[in-house]
Symmetry: C2
């Protein structure tokens, strides 16, 4: 692969001139410019961004760390992030941790080595590694430290508005299918839900340990309830399916509300009532904030809570 020296030689000019020409920096006379372009074309030359990065100390790459690609929430987030990043001239390095801490550690290390300009992490489980890595970090869904910018949907409020709905409908037999304890965002949505209901002395049963695909038997259990709040849409969609085949009619027998407003929650049968905010918008904002940090225009505000609302669809009776 040709380098800048080859181009310079072929064009019969100095290496610095080629550099100036490529980067449209400083003056290069028209005639010299043409000669250089010719040489570039003939040699099929592409500037080496790594060499450039090593000098400018800017790789134009953003690391994106997410726990999983299997829950569509994260691809949707990635859409917002990637699009905005592209607009700002950044490239995305994507890695998923599979919710494994060791994996996250490795990824952080690798990204630091690759000298990404900044990192966006969703549902982080590491802490000090982000604090000490020496590059700007924006955290989604979880507050890592007071110094690290953090955006998330208002989980607590999200839980609360579901509770409000429950109160309005005067449900008594209520179940919450709970997310993993170590996921802060999951815990918070439950907290908001429970706190609110407690105020009115309404108790909630909890179904634990069912986070992913395996929803077998849940239909049977649901027969005892009027309402179920599932910690995320991805799981709620599985529950919907299980109910259908388990002879539980939604929303007649039991109403169900999810959380996230992922794309498919609009396409389920029945369509899924859920707590949502614009996932993509959050991703975009994350990139903006990261970009500001990278340029040392560090925003003073470190906490960004995105408002949520209950999106009524057909898994509840309005």
């Amino acid at each position: 692969m040709a380098n800048i020296r080859d181009v310079a030689k072929k064009a019969g000019v100095g290496i610095a001139t080629v550099s100036r020409y490529i980067n449209s920096k400083g003056y290069v006379s028209k005639s010299v410019g043409e000669k250089i372009q010719l040489a570039i074309d003939e040699l099929n030359y592409t500037p080496n961004g790594l060499a450039r990065a090593i000098f400018t100390k800017s790789s134009n790459m953003i690391g994106l760390i997410i726990p999983s690609l299997a829950n569509p929430f994260y691809p949707e987030l990635a859409i917002g992030i990637e699009n905005r990043a592209k607009e700002l001239g950044y490239r995305i390095i994507l890695s998923n941790t599979e919710f494994l801490k060791q994996s996250e550690l490795d990824i952080i290390d690798s990204m630091c080595r690759h000298r990404v300009d900044g990192i966006i992490v969703a549902n982080a489980s590491c802490v000090k590694e982000y604090i000490n890595c020496g590059i700007p970090v924006v955290s989604l869904e979880k507050q890592i430290s007071p110094d690290i910018i953090h955006l998330s949907s208002d989980y607590y409020k999200g839980g609360r508005i579901v509770a409000d709905y429950v109160l309005e409908k005067k449900f008594k037999r209520i179940l919450h299918i709970k997310g993993p304890d170590n996921i802060e965002s999951a815990a918070n949505r439950f907290l908001g839900f429970k706190d609110r209901l407690s105020k009115f002395n309404i108790s909630v049963d909890i179904h634990e340990g069912m986070y992913g695909e395996d929803v077998e038997g849940i239909a049977e259990k649901l027969k005892a309830y009027e309402f179920v709040f599932v910690w995320n849409d991805d799981l709620a969609i599985s529950v919907l399916n299980e109910c259908y085949y388990g002879g539980v009619n939604i929303p007649k027998d039991i109403e169900i509300i999810g959380y996230d407003d992922i794309f498919y929650s609009r396409k389920t049968i029945p369509t899924l009532t859920t707590v949502g905010q614009s996932i993509a918008a959050m991703g975009e904002k994350a990139v903006d904030l990261l970009s500001e940090q990278i340029q040392n225009k560090a925003p003073i505000e470190k906490e960004y809570l995105f408002d949520v609302k209950l999106i009524h669809r057909n898994s509840t009776n309005v």
Copy 2:
């Protein structure tokens, strides 16, 4: 950020020794090693992978170009790719083209500049840019050139086995909801379907121009048919929903078959009969083949057709 020279100075050793220590290459005495490690820790030193890459001519990054993240097929593909890449020590740079050729052009250019070791592209629309970029490429879903390794599911056969099912059930009023013409893989699945049915003088109506979300009105149209083959699962899932709310019962009024076997096709109501193969396995194989090329163990075989099968679920009556 500290560099290797800082470490060497602090440890009171030579720069090469540090390099050897970091990369566990060549001999470094235990005592010297300890001193170096100490310096590394104190300085919070991370080796600069870019500088390393520029020398070794290997960035350990693989570019992944997909048309979209919105169709879950691609995230599922990315899962397989990312996991295998991680095992082999590669990092993924992900970009989606939004099906825009110009976007794809920009991405290729950017990835070349970043000196990725290789590119995996799904549903490519560029051709010569891949041929001329001078780095290994593996193409998914589309044959770019005879020289570029190409993996895809056997679309033609996929279409054929759907046709076989239609023949078996003796359907007469048949609709195909067709993908975009410029997507080869979409065209092929239809071709296999149509060719087979033609042999038995069975004709197929085609619904064109409905590729994405907007399925409004399709339920009404479907009332005239016994069977519909939808070009991919993502769209089929929308159709399912539209039928439900449009008063068309599946599979009683009309049977429906999709293509891809994405994750959610197992969770729809009814669950979706579809043509599938292991998406993740295809992604993994792509990485393996790319990796071999990167190491100049270029595989002789350039074409990899993945077998498909009809996965019977409840959107058809077995």
